[in-house]
Structure formats: structure tokens, C-alpha cells
Subunit: 207 residues, 2 copies
């Protein structure tokens, strides 16, 4: 696994899921071969950048013949470690949690929500997707018992840091945080953020 033994810039890693997504789309359209040029045009990334990014991980195509889509997809899945299914804990069963629980795209791409927690007794016991919503008080216990390493936080900002602390203490190493605050976590825990307003404000500057 070259990809995990060399230190590769996180920005490169961040582009691999975008390549994988594009390949999955081409494959669904029945295409078998693609090129860095075609991918680049679809993604608005230069073909040289794509070739350079992929070259960190091996030789995936031959000059002039392009990439075999299925093979490259499998390799990217392996590199990103989504050739397996990550059991994922979801904290927060509000509107957003509900949308996430019902979103099939997570499971198709490596992440399956198999535990949902909410501190609202009215939500506990409800079925959302494949799960029955559990009391947040059981979060630490369940995360430890089943060894969850991935969690999605979809609670209000005021509760997010406390939820993150419990997750991290219980063994979670990757957090996708929807609450509009920057979380404080130990260095070995990965956090990614989704806040639609940050994206909107980034665009309104230009309007």
C-alpha cells in the first residue's frame, strides 16, 4: 500500500474521492475506458494534476490507452479504504439526521449508518432508515461496544462539542460535523465540516 506508507498531501487525498465519484458515474453510463483529459474536463481539474495525483499511488493507465474505469475505481476504493463498509454512528435525529438516515448514497459509497442517537425522548424508539433511534445517554457505551470509528454529528451547535468529546472518548477517529462550529479534538482524530452557509457566503462575495 504505497498510499499509506508515503506521506501524501491531504489536498491530494481530498481529490481522490472526486475522481472516484466521476468514475462511478462514467461506469454507470456504460463507459469502460477514460483518460485524464476526459476526467479533467468533467471535473474542471487539469489532466496533468490528475495524472500527478494518481502517480503517487501507482501506474493506473498506459500512455495513449487511458484508464480502465473499473480497475481504477477498485484501486481508488482500496486506497480510500471504502472497498469495505464503515459502520457509522449518527448523532442527531432532527430534519438533517433524518435526511442522512434516508440517503442511500452513503451506503453505496462505503458508509452505513447503523446507530442513531438523539437526546429527545420523543424521537427515541422511532425507526429512521435501518435504525431505531437510541437515547444519547447510551452513545459512549454503544460506540465502544461495537467499535464505531466514524461518526456524523447533526446536532445543534451548542451541543456539538460535548457530543464530539463523547464520541472521541469512546474511540471515534473520524467525525463529519454538520454543526456550525469548529470542534476541538485530539490530533489523531479527523474532522470534516459541512456548513452550507460557509459555501453560500463564499459565493455571495462575488455577486
Amino acid at each position: 500500500m504505497v498510499g499509506n506508507s508515503l506521506k501524501i498531501h491531504d489536498i491530494v487525498i481530498g481529490r481522490l474521492p472526486i475522481y472516484l465519484r466521476a468514475l462511478t458515474f462514467l461506469s454507470a453510463e456504460g463507459q469502460e475506458i477514460t483518460s485524464s483529459h476526459e476526467l479533467g474536463q468533467k471535473l474542471g481539474i487539469s489532466s496533468a494534476q490528475i495524472r500527478k495525483d494518481l502517480s503517487h499511488f501507482g501506474e493506473f493507465g498506459k500512455q495513449g490507452t487511458g484508464y480502465n474505469i473499473e480497475y481504477l475505481s477498485q484501486q481508488l476504493q482500496r486506497i480510500l479504504q471504502v472497498d469495505r463498509e464503515w459502520e457509522t454512528a449518527l448523532i442527531g435525529a432532527g430534519d438533517l439526521g433524518r435526511a442522512l438516515a434516508h440517503y442511500g448514497g452513503l451506503r453505496e459509497r462505503g458508509f452505513r449508518i447503523t446507530a442513531i442517537f438523539d437526546n429527545n425522548p420523543a424521537k427515541q424508539g422511532q425507526k429512521l432508515g435501518d435504525c431505531v433511534v437510541k437515547d444519547s445517554a447510551r452513545m459512549a457505551e454503544v460506540i465502544k461496544e461495537y467499535g464505531y470509528r466514524v461518526a456524523i454529528i447533526a446536532v445543534p451547535a451548542a451541543a456539538a462539542q460535548q457530543v464530539a468529546d463523547i464520541c472521541v472518548e469512546a474511540g471515534v477517529k473520524a467525525i463529519l460535523n454538520y454543526a456550525p462550529i469548529t470542534l476541538s479534538v485530539p490530533a489523531d482524530v479527523h474532522v470534516q465540516y459541512i456548513d452550507p452557509v460557509l459555501h453560500l457566503q463564499r459565493m455571495s462575495y462575488y455577486l
Copy 2:
């Protein structure tokens, strides 16, 4: 408006909403003054970077006395053009659209969803947040008539490019796209993407 007359790197612009969000939080906690050092610690960004980013837009604090939170917030809101309210069209009234329509954080931070469209007749006529869901067939007409420049796309991947084309043709200049595909739009249209799986896969690489 220094910020709009000089060409400032988009990465800098992308950090301003993060600063604004942090300032809003500090303000809500009753704090009146902050420093680049404190902001940096909260955000995991170096204080030098913060000072440099802000220096593109003017002088917002004095050496040794820090930033007045309210003043800096107002200035950032002005620079990002969210000292006004952007009427925002939402396309897609599924689980995600529903969550967005109910999310108060949009309006508090400059974006108000005032039109929602869905092509499913069962959803049309339903009330979501402040809006009644309209037939997607009316999208172009309504966007043009009311001059929407900001749209959020929350439809399945297979429909997203077509929806984007209609929005752009009708005058939209900023699209927040939740569908898991890269959109093709003219150079003067801004697109930002939210795909939770890209974030999750970026982290699973490291697990």
C-alpha cells in the same frame, strides 16, 4: 470596497465566512474583543494567516488591542455581502430539501429560502418552512420574475445538470449543489458542492 476592486485569492475569500462564524459565536457568548491569536486557536489557523487574510480588506484592529468583535463582524458581513438578505431558490423538496427549508441558520446568516420547487405532484402545494412547494415546470419563470441569483440544488444526481441549466438560463449566478455530480456551468456562475461522502472518504483513507 477594497475587497472587490483587488483580485483576492478565492482561498482567502473562503476563510472569511469561517472567521465571521467564529466572531458570531464569541459575540453570542458576550465577548467584545478578540485577537488573531484567539481566533487562530479556535479555528486551527495560524494567527499570522488570519492577520494576513484580513489585511487584504483594511485595518480592523490595532497592535496590542485586538479586534472589536462587532465591528469586525459587520465589516466581514459587508465584504461577503451578507449585510443584506439573499432570496434563495431551493430545488428539491425531498428529505434534504425539507431539512434545508427548516434550517434557521440560513436566514440568520444572509440567505432566505423564498421559493421551493419539486417535480413530484405529491409535494407541490405542501408548505415547507415559509414556502409552498411549486411545480418545477415554473422554475425558470419564477426565478426570472423575482430575479433570484442564488439557488440550492437538492435533487437526485440524474436531474441536477438539467436543473442547473434552467437556473443559469433564468439568471442564477451562485449554485450550492448537493447532488453528487460536478456541474457544468458558464464561467460567470459560481458553484459550490456539498457531498458528505467526499468528506467521509477523505477521512477513511487515514483510518
